[in-house]
């Protein structure tokens, strides 16, 4: 599943970020392979806002399409 397919409120774990240039920048914002995050808001065909604790990061839709994620069940605690 890709990040752009996650719905608002869902929790997920990032499984792959293909672009190396992007992943080195993203990791500082808490976005990396293995990170457990939540989708705070999704614009129709626009950016996806992901949340890590109190922090929010906006990801452009095209970029979100390149990021692979796995949905977390309600039971998966952080």
């Amino acid at each position: 599943m890709r990040l752009d397919q996650v719905n608002k409120g869902q929790r997920f774990q990032i499984t792959s970020i293909p672009d190396k240039q992007i992943s080195t920048q993203a990791i500082r914002l808490g976005i990396y392979e293995g990170a457990r995050l939540a989708c705070a808001y999704k614009f129709p065909a626009g950016p996806v806002i992901i949340q890590n604790g109190m922090q929010e990061i906006a990801i452009g839709r095209e970029l979100a399409k390149k990021i692979e994620v796995r949905l977390l069940d309600k039971g998966d605690v952080k």
């Binding site: 914002l29 808490g30 990396y32 806002i49 452009g60």
Partner: protein
């Protein structure tokens, strides 16, 4: 871009210890800087960049501020500058936003991995409580291995403790095991532990600086380990006591969601227009340009030089003529541009410091995607309504050359600067809603069509939006003023000389009669295709020198009753789309290569006349 050890640039005692302030953007570093250094501060520009470094003194030590960054490396100008200051620091004061430790501690851990003695200021502790979060400060200090001091810097809480800690208890913290294990292998290649870490992290400039080759970098592994370590620390020290979102969190959400966000954006833009477009561009400029520069200064310089030079000689024309280096240039730069630029940077600094700007970027991201840009490009576009020259310089923040080209072209072509906006609004007002709508429709259409086409044909790849949304905060007035001052000064020193050069070129064209030839050459197009009176060509030519001259020229013609309403709209469309002013053109040549600059210039000509001509054929 060539960067060297920044500390050599500032005149300091070589033996003095250097305290360097480090932190993510908008964490309140400058409040600490001011508290440590007091009034005596030196702001210096880092060579080859628009980045400024403040330095001052605390006791017998030098204190240096750095631009806000998320990590130490070389992704952009800010990072390169911060990196070079941090690398050679003696003590680091790391300011951390307590509300965002999962973000900020990444940088903290990296500095600790460099082996620098660190003091951490855990700032904005008041907001932590407000948001129902608890942080175990002692535990955090223990995990990091460095002193951590809770502060509320804007209220002065914790400042004395920080001062004390910097003198006595800065400590080298707990490095990541992966760094500890691998650092020795590269340590002999460089001068400092901090450099060795960046070599391991594959920082190209440090590797090049020490002529290192054949090292197997491990950036990904180290970043991953650091991220995991930070998340582990956060889990140990932070506890959420209730989940009630504060008002600022809710407001931040409203600003983002299109249903509420777009109306908020419209109101904000309207306020900006009222402030910059009406108050500054008309009231303030009338005073600065009309009175101070246009009368006092102009009369002074003419009384001084006219008896010596006369106005007919070439030198007279060059220095004090219509486009003179001593007359028009300073009047334009200081009377008109400066107030506009200051007004706009003031607004932009407020939007930036309050955390609103990234939200606007998110809101506009999707629309800008169609033009091959991402949400970040809204920043130069908004600035363009203030001054296209300034906006063109700001396109540097965009992620790729392709985006910078598209944004520059759209700015040059379609965005009327505030010097013009007032005159345009004044001319459109009396024509009624229909004509105003027609004008807006045509300009927006050109903006959208040209952007979409450029997105299709310009080679390369645009970057995607990835932006941190900081919490909304009331901006600090001192900070806003300082930012405005630094940026306005940088703009004037950069654009001023270019405008001077432009004035010289125009004077030469006029003295040699080439300017008249150009105006005559335009006449067939103006009369035949645009269906406008012959004199309009002069207004267009004036528009090259100063955009508002062009608009003002039209204004004169309207008051003489030379243009009917349809012709006014055609002329306004032409002059809006027409090439930017000479200062902007010079900046375009400087920022882009000459091929791209000529392409932008020539196509602005063609598109403006073509569009206005088509409209003329339909409505006049």
């Amino acid at each position: 871009m060539q960067c060297h050890n920044m500390t050599e640039k500032i005149d300091i005692n070589k033996d003095a210890k250097k305290i360097v302030l480090v932190g993510n953007p908008n964490v309140g570093k400058s409040v600490f800087f001011n508290a440590l250094t007091g009034a005596y501060v030196d702001v210096s520009n880092f060579p080859g960049t628009t980045v400024d470094i403040s330095s001052g003194r605390y006791k017998d030590m030098v204190v240096m501020d750095t631009p806000g960054v998320y990590g130490v490396s070389s992704f952009n100008d800010e990072e390169r500058v911060a990196r070079d200051v941090i690398l050679y620091a003696d003590i680091i004061l790391n300011v951390v936003d307590a509300l965002h430790i999962e973000r900020d501690l990444f940088l903290t851990q990296q500095i600790i991995d460099m082996g620098k003695p660190v003091v951490v200021a855990l700032n904005m502790m008041d907001e932590v409580k407000k948001n129902g979060i608890e942080i175990d400060v002692d535990k955090l200090s223990q995990e990091l291995g460095v002193p951590v001091i809770p502060t509320v810097a804007v209220k002065g809480e914790g400042i004395e403790e920080i001062k004390e800690a910097l003198l006595h208890c800065a400590r080298v913290g707990n490095r990541l095991p992966i760094v500890e294990e691998n650092l020795q292998a590269v340590r002999h290649l460089v001068d400092e532990d901090s450099e060795a870490l960046l070599v391991l992290e594959e920082d190209e400039s440090i590797i090049a600086r020490h002529n290192i080759s054949g090292i197997k970098g491990m950036r990904e592994q180290i970043y991953q380990a650091r991220r995991e370590r930070v998340d582990e620390i956060v889990k140990k020290v932070m506890r959420q006591t209730n989940r009630g979102a504060s008002f600022s969190v809710k407001l931040g959400r409203w600003m983002l969601s299109p249903l509420t966000g777009i109306p908020i954006l419209i109101v904000v833009l309207w306020l900006v227009y009222e402030f910059v477009g009406v108050f500054v561009a008309q009231t303030v400029v009338e005073w600065t340009e009309g009175l101070i520069m246009g009368e006092y200064y102009y009369n002074f310089i003419m009384n001084l030089l006219e008896p010596i030079l006369g106005t007919e000689s070439f030198l007279g024309q060059l220095l004090i003529g219509e486009f003179g280096v001593l007359t028009m240039t300073p009047i334009y730069v200081f009377g008109l541009l400066l107030p506009l630029v200051v007004g706009f940077y003031l607004v932009l600094s407020i939007m930036e410091d309050s955390g609103y700007l990234p939200r606007v970027a998110v809101l506009t991201d999707r629309s800008l995607n169609y033009l091959g840009l991402n949400g970040r490009a809204i920043i130069p576009i908004i600035l363009g309504f203030g001054c296209v020259t300034m906006a063109t310089i700001v396109t540097r923040i965009l992620g790729s050359r392709r985006e910078r080209f598209i944004a520059t072209m759209l700015l040059a072509l379609t965005i009327p600067c505030s010097a013009q906006l007032g005159v345009i609004a004044g001319l459109l007002g009396p024509l009624g809603i229909k004509m105003t709508a027609l004008y807006l429709f045509v300009i927006l259409l050109v903006f959208a069509v040209v952007g979409t086409l450029l997105n299709r044909v310009v080679p390369g790849k645009s970057t995607d939006l990835m932006i941190d949304l900081p919490p909304l905060r009331l901006p600090r007035i001192g900070n806003v003023l300082k930012k405005t001052y630094v940026k306005s000064k940088a703009f004037i020193t950069e654009a001023g000389p270019l405008f001077l050069l432009g004035a010289v070129i125009i004077s030469v064209l006029q003295y040699t009669g080439i300017l008249d030839l150009i105006a005559d050459g335009f006449a067939p197009i103006t009369e035949g295709f645009l269906k406008l009176p012959r004199e309009t060509a002069v207004a267009f030519i004036m528009g090259i020198i100063r955009r508002d001259f062009g608009a003002a020229g039209l204004n004169d013609m309207v008051s003489q009753g030379l243009l009917n309403p349809s012709q006014v709209v055609v002329a306004l469309i032409a002059i809006t789309l027409f090439v930017p002013c000479i200062a902007a053109v010079m900046v375009i040549f400087k920022e882009r290569n000459w091929k791209e600059a000529i392409l932008i210039w020539v196509s602005s000509f063609i598109i403006s006349f073509l569009t206005a001509g088509i409209v003329a054929q339909v409505i006049v």
